[in-house]
C-alpha cells in the first residue's frame, strides 16, 4: 500500500504545511522540495493499479501507473520544480498554494484509473489554477479569471455528464480507450477538447494565460492543456477526427501570432499551435505517433516554459511584454537572451534542440500512415512556428530597434530555472535516448539521418530567409499597439451587436422582455422575502398558539388519511 500512496496527496499536504510555515525562504524551499520528492517517488513506482478504494459500489483507482502516466507525471513534477524555482522570489501565498494544488491535481489526474477520480482532479486543476490569474488582483484579471473558470468548470461538467452516461451504458468507470459514437463518449471528447483548446473551443487560452501573473503564466502553460493531451492520448488514440482538428490547430494560430504585439500572447498562440502537433499525433494513433505526442508534450513543456520564463523575466524587469516597447535588451540581459534563443531554437525544431526530437516523430508517423496533406500542413506550421516564435520572440525582445531600456539581468533564481530548462532542451536534442527509453512504446527510430536533418534545415533556412526579406521590405507586421480579434469576438461583441442592430422594435422588445423578467425575478425574490424573510409569516417562530393549531391540523390530516385509506 505504502508504495502506491497517491502522489497528489503529497502536494496537498505540502499546500497545508505551507500555510503554517513562516513566510520567506522556508516556504520557497518547501515548494522546491515537494516536486523533487514527488518526482523521485514517481520514478520508483512499480506499474499497476496501486491504490484502489471504493465509495459505494464505485471502484476508484487512484494510482494507475503505466508508462504513459509515469512520463506525464514526471514532466509535471519537473515543470512544477522549474516553475517554483523561477518563482523563488515570490512571496504571495495564494499563488504558492495554488501552484501546489494545481500541480498535485494535474499529477493526480494523470494517475487516475477511473473517470470519477479523473473528474475530481480535472475540476481540481480548474479551481486551483484560477487563483494564479486572480493573483494579479486587477479588475480585468478578476473577470478574465471568472471567464476562465466558467469554461473550465463547464468542461468538468461535460466530463461528469459523459461519465454518468457511460456508467449507465457499460457499468464501468474505468478510464480506458473509447470510441466516439455514443452521446457519452462525445461529451467526454468535448470536455477533453475544451481543455485541449480545440479550434473554436480555444479562446479561453489566449484570454486567460497572458492575464496571469508572470510566474502564473509559466505554471499555467505546463499543466492544463498537457493534461488534456494525456487524456486524449489515453481515451481517444487513433480517432481520425483528431488528425484534422490537430492540423487546423497547428495552422490557424500562426496568423494571429504573427500580428500579435504582446509577446506573452504570441507564446500562448504558439502553445495552441504546438498542441496541434500533439493532437495530430494522437489522431494518427500508431505507436510511433503516440510516442511522438508524448515526447512532444514532454519537451514542449520544457521549452514553452523556457520561453515564457525568459519573456517573464523581461516583463519582470521592464514591466511590459509588448514588441512595440521592447528591443535591444541583449546588452544588459545577455543570459536571458541566450536562454530565450535556446527556447526559440527548440520550438523551431532546429537539429540538436529538443523540438526536433519530437516533431520528427510526429511528421514521420503521419507520412507512414499516408496523411500527406496533414504532413504538409504540419510542415507549414513548423515553418510558421519558426517565424513567429523562433525568430519573432527573441528578435523583438532582445534585438530589433534599441528601445533604450537598460534593465538589470534577471534575478539568479529565474536564471537558474531558465538555465536548467535550456540545458534539458539541448541535452534532449543532442542525446534523446534516455527520453525515448521512457516512452510508452518501444521506439526503433533513428533520429539523425541525413534526410531528416537536411529537410528540417531547408525548412528553417527558407523561413528565416522569408522573415529577413519581409522584415527588410517592411511587409512583416511591426509590433504595433493593437488589439487583434479572435473568434471569441463573435460571442463577446458581435452577437450582442447583431441583437441590438436587428432594429429598434426588436431592441425595444428585448428591453421590455429583460425588464419584465428582471421585474418578475425581483418580485419573486421580494415575495420570498415577504413570506420567508425574518419578518415573514413563515419564519415567525414565537406564537405558541399557531403551533398548537398546526398540531391540530396535522393530527386531523393524519387521522383522515389513515381512516380513508383503510376503508
Amino acid at each position: 500500500m505504502a508504495d502506491g500512496f497517491p502522489v497528489a496527496f503529497l502536494f496537498f499536504a505540502g499546500a497545508a504545511l505551507l500555510c503554517i510555515l513562516p513566510k520567506g525562504n522556508a516556504r520557497a524551499l518547501l515548494l522546491l522540495a515537494i516536486p523533487v520528492i514527488a518526482g523521485y517517488i514517481i520514478w520508483l513506482l512499480p506499474e499497476g493499479n496501486l491504490w484502489s478504494t471504493s465509495i459505494f459500489e464505485l471502484n476508484l483507482e487512484l494510482m494507475r501507473v503505466d508508462r504513459l502516466s509515469r512520463i506525464f507525471a514526471l514532466v509535471f513534477a519537473l515543470a512544477a520544480f522549474l516553475g517554483n524555482l523561477y518563482a523563488w522570489h515570490m512571496r504571495d501565498m495564494v499563488q504558492q498554494v495554488g501552484t501546489l494544488l494545481y500541480a498535485g491535481s494535474a499529477i493526480g489526474a494523470v494517475f487516475a484509473g477511473d473517470l470519477v477520480t479523473l473528474f475530481l482532479y480535472w475540476e481540481g486543476t480548474a479551481i486551483a489554477s484560477v487563483f494564479l490569474i486572480w493573483a494579479r488582483r486587477t479588475e480585468g484579471a478578476y473577470h478574465t479569471g471568472m471567464r476562465y473558470l466558467i469554461v473550465q468548470i463547464g468542461s468538468g461538467v461535460l466530463l461528469l455528464a459523459g461519465t454518468v452516461l457511460l456508467w449507465r451504458e457499460t457499468g464501468s468507470l474505468v478510464f480506458e480507450s473509447m470510441t466516439l459514437g455514443s452521446l457519452a463518449t462525445w461529451l467526454i471528447f468535448i470536455a477533453f477538447g475544451i481543455k485541449c483548446a480545440f479550434p473554436l473551443l480555444h479562446n479561453w487560452l489566449q484570454d486567460a494565460y497572458p492575464a496571469a501573473t508572470i510566474t502564473g503564466t509559466v505554471i499555467l502553460s505546463a499543466f492544463t492543456t498537457k493534461l488534456a493531451v494525456y487524456a486524449l492520448a489515453r481515451g481517444f488514440a487513433g480517432t481520425e477526427l483528431l488528425i484534422y482538428i490537430g492540423a487546423v490547430m497547428a495552422l490557424f494560430p500562426i496568423f494571429y501570432a504573427v500580428i500579435e504585439n504582446d509577446l506573452r500572447r504570441v507564446l500562448v498562440y504558439s502553445l495552441n499551435n504546438q498542441l496541434g502537433f500533439m493532437v495530430v499525433g494522437i489522431g494518427v494513433g500508431t505507436e510511433l505517433a503516440l510516442n511522438g505526442t508524448v515526447t512532444h508534450a514532454f519537451v514542449h513543456i520544457l521549452y514553452k516554459a523556457l520561453l515564457l520564463m525568459s519573456i517573464g523575466a523581461v516583463m519582470f524587469r521592464t514591466g511590459t511584454a509588448k514588441c512595440s516597447e521592447l528591443g535591444g535588451l541583449y546588452k544588459t540581459m545577455p543570459l536571458t537572451m541566450i536562454f530565450c534563443v535556446v527556447g526559440a531554437a527548440s520550438i523551431s525544431a532546429f537539429p540538436l534542440f529538443s523540438g526536433f526530437v519530437s516533431k520528427s516523430l510526429i511528421l514521420s508517423a503521419s507520412v507512414d500512415e499516408g496523411y500527406y496533406i496533414v504532413w504538409a500542413m504540419l510542415l507549414f506550421a513548423s515553418a510558421g512556428a519558426l517565424l513567429y516564435s523562433g525568430i519573432k520572440i527573441p528578435y523583438f525582445a532582445f534585438f530589433a530597434q534599441d528601445s533604450g531600456l537598460r534593465p538589470k539581468e534577471a534575478p539568479w533564481n529565474m536564471l537558474l530555472a531558465m538555465g536548467i530548462a535550456a540545458f534539458l532542451s539541448i541535452a534532449i536534442g543532442v542525446y534523446p535516448a534516455p527520453l525515448y527509453a521512457m516512452l510508452p512504446y518501444e521506439l526503433d527510430y533513428v533520429l539523425y539521418t541525413t534526410p531528416h536533418v537536411v529537410t528540417q534545415l531547408q525548412l528553417l533556412f527558407f523561413s528565416a530567409l522569408a522573415f529577413t526579406v519581409l522584415q527588410r521590405t517592411g511587409i512583416y507586421p511591426q509590433g504595433l499597439r493593437s488589439i487583434n480579434l479572435d473568434t471569441d469576438w463573435t460571442y463577446r461583441r458581435l452577437l450582442p451587436k447583431i441583437i441590438s442592430a436587428v432594429g429598434k422594435p426588436a431592441a425595444r422588445l428585448w428591453d421590455a422582455i429583460v425588464q419584465f423578467s428582471l421585474r418578475r425575478i425581483n418580485n419573486i425574490i421580494s415575495g420570498l422575502y415577504r413570506t420567508h424573510g425574518p419578518e415573514g409569516p413563515i419564519a415567525k417562530a414565537w406564537p405558541t398558539g399557531s403551533m398548537v393549531l398546526w398540531i391540530a391540523i396535522l393530527l386531523a390530516a393524519t387521522l383522515l388519511v389513515s381512516f380513508i385509506d383503510l376503508m
Binding site: 478504494t53 465509495i55 459505494f56 475530481l120 420570498l528 422575502y529 420567508h532 424573510g533 425574518p534 415573514g536 413563515i538 419564519a539 415567525k540 417562530a541 414565537w542 406564537p543 405558541t544 399557531s546 403551533m547 398548537v548 398546526w550 398540531i551 391540523i553 396535522l554 393530527l555 390530516a557 393524519t558 387521522l559 388519511v561 389513515s562 381512516f563 380513508i564 385509506d565 383503510l566
Partner: protein, 510 residues
C-alpha cells in the same frame, strides 16, 4: 456488596443498562460534588464510557443479531426490556460520539456564556439530557420511551434557558419549547395509552406481534396518528418546527451543537421504530401517512426552511433553519418506504450530526471571541480567525453536499433511492434544494472572507480547546465522505433491522 474489581468481560452482558445508568448516576454526583472541574471530568468520563459501550454494542449487532437485556431479570413483556439492534446501536453511537466531542468544547465555551455558579448544574442537566436521549433509543419498552423522552426534554428546557446569560430571549425560547414539547410528549403518551388499551402490553416487540391483527381498528389508527404527530413535533417535522429556531439560536453554543446533532436524531429514530417495528410496515404504508403527510412536508421543509435560512441575519438561526431543511431530507428517506430510503435516512442522521455539530461549534467559537453571531458583524473574520472560518467553510461544503464530504454521501444515497423508485423529479428537487444551501453557505463565506471588517476591532483566533473539538468533527465530516465503510454498512444494517424480519422472529427464541 463490594465485589472487587469488575473485569471488562464481566461487565459485557450488562452493557445495555450501563449505557444508560452511567450518565444517569453521574448527573446527581456532578451536583453533589459541586466542583466545576470535577463535575466536568465526571461528565467527560461518563461520556467516554458511553462511547466505548455504544461502539462495542454496535460491533456486536452489526451482523443482524439482537441483544435483549431484561431489567432486574424480569422477562418481557412484563418486565422492561432493553433491546439493541443495528438501528438503535448506530444512533447510540452517534449520540455518545457527539457528546464526547462536545463536552471538552463545552468546558471552555460555557465559561463565557453561563455564570460560574451554574456550571455544575449545567453538567448535571447535560448528563440527564444525554441519559434521556440514550434511554429513549435503547429501550424496547414503549412507555419507557416516553419516560426517557421527558427526562431529555425537561433537561433540554433548562439547558436552553441557561443561554439567558448571553441573551434574555433564551428564556422565552425555553418557555415556548416547554409548552410545545409538552404538547408533543402528551400526544405521544396519548397514543401509547390507546395502544395499551387495545393490546394490554407496552413492550414494543410484543406490540409488534399483536398489532397486525388489529390493523383495521380505529383506536389503533388513532394511536398511530397521535404518535406520529407527537414524535413529529419532537423531531421538528416542517410545520411543527416552530420551537426549534429560537431554542437553537439562544441556547448556549455547546448546547446547540449537542442538541442539533442528537436530539432530533433520536426522535427520528423513535418515529421510524414505531412506524416500522411497532406498527407493521404494511400498516404504516396503508395509512397513507407516508405519501400524504411525511413526503409532502419533507419536500416543503427542504425548500421553505432553506429559503428562510437564506434571509436570516443571525448565523445560528440560519443554521437552525438549515437543520429543519435537513430533517426534511431524513423524512424524505422515510417517505420512500424502501430499504435504500431508510439507509439514506440513517446515514444522513450520522453525517448531518457530524456536519451540523461542527458548524454550530465553529459559530460558538466566533461567539466566544466576538459575542455575536450576527452575520454582518462577522465581516472579515476570515483573516482574524482563520481556523474557525476554515472550519465553517469545510463543514459548510459538507452541508451543501459537495463530493468528498459526508454530506455528499447522504445526498447520493438519497438520490439513488429516488431513482430506484423511478422518481427522477424527486432527484431534481433534492439537487435544487441543495442549491439553496449553496446560497446561504456562500453568504457566510463571502462575509467572512470577502468583506472588509467593520470597525477596527482586533479579534483573536479561538482557543485550542474550542478549535480542536471543532476540527475533529470537521475532519470527520470529510473523512466519512471518503471512507464510507463504517457509516454505510451500519446504515444498511440499521435499515435491515428496522424493515427486516418480524420483530420477534429474530429474537432469542422466546
Amino acid at each position: 456488596m463490594f465485589s472487587g474489581p469488575l473485569t471488562f468481560a464481566g461487565l459485557g452482558p450488562h452493557f445495555p443498562i450501563l449505557q444508560v445508568v452511567i450518565p444517569l448516576i453521574a448527573a446527581p454526583l456532578a451536583v453533589f460534588i459541586g466542583v466545576t472541574s470535577i463535575a466536568f471530568l465526571l461528565a467527560f468520563a461518563a461520556s467516554i464510557a458511553s462511547l466505548i459501550i455504544s461502539y462495542s454494542l454496535l460491533m456486536q449487532v452489526i451482523d443482524g443479531s439482537i441483544i435483549s437485556y431484561h431489567i432486574g431479570g424480569w422477562a418481557p413483556p412484563w418486565g422492561i426490556e432493553y433491546r439493541v439492534d443495528a438501528a438503535n446501536a448506530f444512533v447510540l453511537l452517534i449520540i455518545s460520539a457527539i457528546s464526547t466531542v462536545v463536552l471538552p468544547y463545552a468546558k471552555t465555551s460555557i465559561e463565557r456564556e453561563i455564570r460560574a455558579s451554574a456550571h455544575t448544574l449545567f453538567y448535571a442537566c447535560y448528563l440527564l439530557c444525554f441519559t434521556g436521549l440514550l434511554g429513549m433509543v435503547i429501550t424496547g419498552d414503549a412507555f419507557n420511551v416516553f419516560v426517557f423522552l421527558e427526562i431529555s426534554s425537561l433537561s433540554t428546557y433548562v439547558l436552553v434557558a441557561l443561554g439567558a446569560e448571553r441573551d434574555k430571549r433564551a428564556l422565552t425560547a425555553a418557555f415556548n419549547y416547554l409548552i410545545m414539547g409538552t404538547i408533543g410528549a402528551t400526544f405521544f403518551v396519548i397514543g401509547l395509552g390507546l395502544l395499551y388499551m387495545m393490546t394490554g402490553t407496552l413492550n414494543m416487540a410484543d406490540l409488534g406481534e399483536r398489532l397486525p391483527a388489529l390493523s383495521d381498528n380505529r383506536t389503533v389508527q388513532t394511536a398511530f396518528g397521535f404518535i406520529v404527530v407527537g414524535m413529529g413535533l419532537k423531531l421538528a417535522i416542517y410545520p411543527l418546527h416552530l420551537w426549534l429556531p429560537n431554542a437553537y439560536t439562544y441556547a448556549p453554543s455547546a448546547v446547540t451543537a449537542f442538541l442539533a446533532a442528537t436530539a432530533t436524531k433520536a426522535a427520528i429514530y423513535v418515529l421510524m421504530r414505531f412506524m416500522f417495528s411497532v406498527f407493521a410496515p404494511d400498516f404504516t404504508a396503508a395509512t397513507g401517512a407516508l405519501n400524504l403527510i411525511i413526503l409532502p412536508f419533507a419536500v416543503i421543509a427542504m425548500f421553505a426552511a432553506s429559503i428562510i435560512a437564506v434571509f436570516q441575519a443571525d448565523l445560528k438561526k440560519t443554521l437552525a433553519y438549515s437543520s429543519i431543511a435537513q430533517i426534511g431530507y431524513m423524512l424524505l428517506g422515510i417517505g420512500y418506504f424502501s430499504h435504500s430510503g431508510i439507509t439514506a435516512t440513517m446515514i444522513h442522521l450520522f453525517n448531518h450530526a457530524v456536519t451540523k455539530a461542527a458548524l454550530f461549534m465553529a459559530v460558538g467559537a466566533i461567539i466566544y471571541q466576538t459575542g455575536t453571531s450576527f452575520i454582518p458583524k462577522l465581516a472579515g473574520l476570515g483573516k482574524q480567525m482563520p481556523w474557525t472560518s476554515a472550519a465553517i467553510v469545510a463543514s459548510g461544503l459538507s452541508l451543501i453536499g459537495i463530493p468528498g464530504t459526508a454530506g455528499f454521501i447522504s445526498k447520493w444515497v438519497l438520490i439513488n433511492g429516488a431513482f430506484e423508485k423511478g422518481w427522477w423529479w424527486m432527484a431534481m428537487l433534492i439537487v435544487a434544494s441543495s442549491l439553496i444551501a449553496v446560497i446561504y453557505v456562500w453568504q457566510v463565506v463571502e462575509t467572512l472572507y470577502l468583506k472588509k471588517p467593520v470597525g477596527d476591532v482586533v479579534v483573536k483566533e479561538a482557543p485550542l480547546s474550542l478549535l480542536i473539538p471543532t476540527w475533529i468533527l470537521v475532519f470527520a465530516s470529510i473523512y466519512f465522505g471518503l471512507d464510507t465503510e463504517l457509516t454505510l454498512s451500519s446504515a444498511r444494517a440499521a435499515a435491515d433491522a428496522l424493515l427486516g424480519a418480524a420483530p420477534l422472529a429474530a429474537g432469542a427464541g422466546s
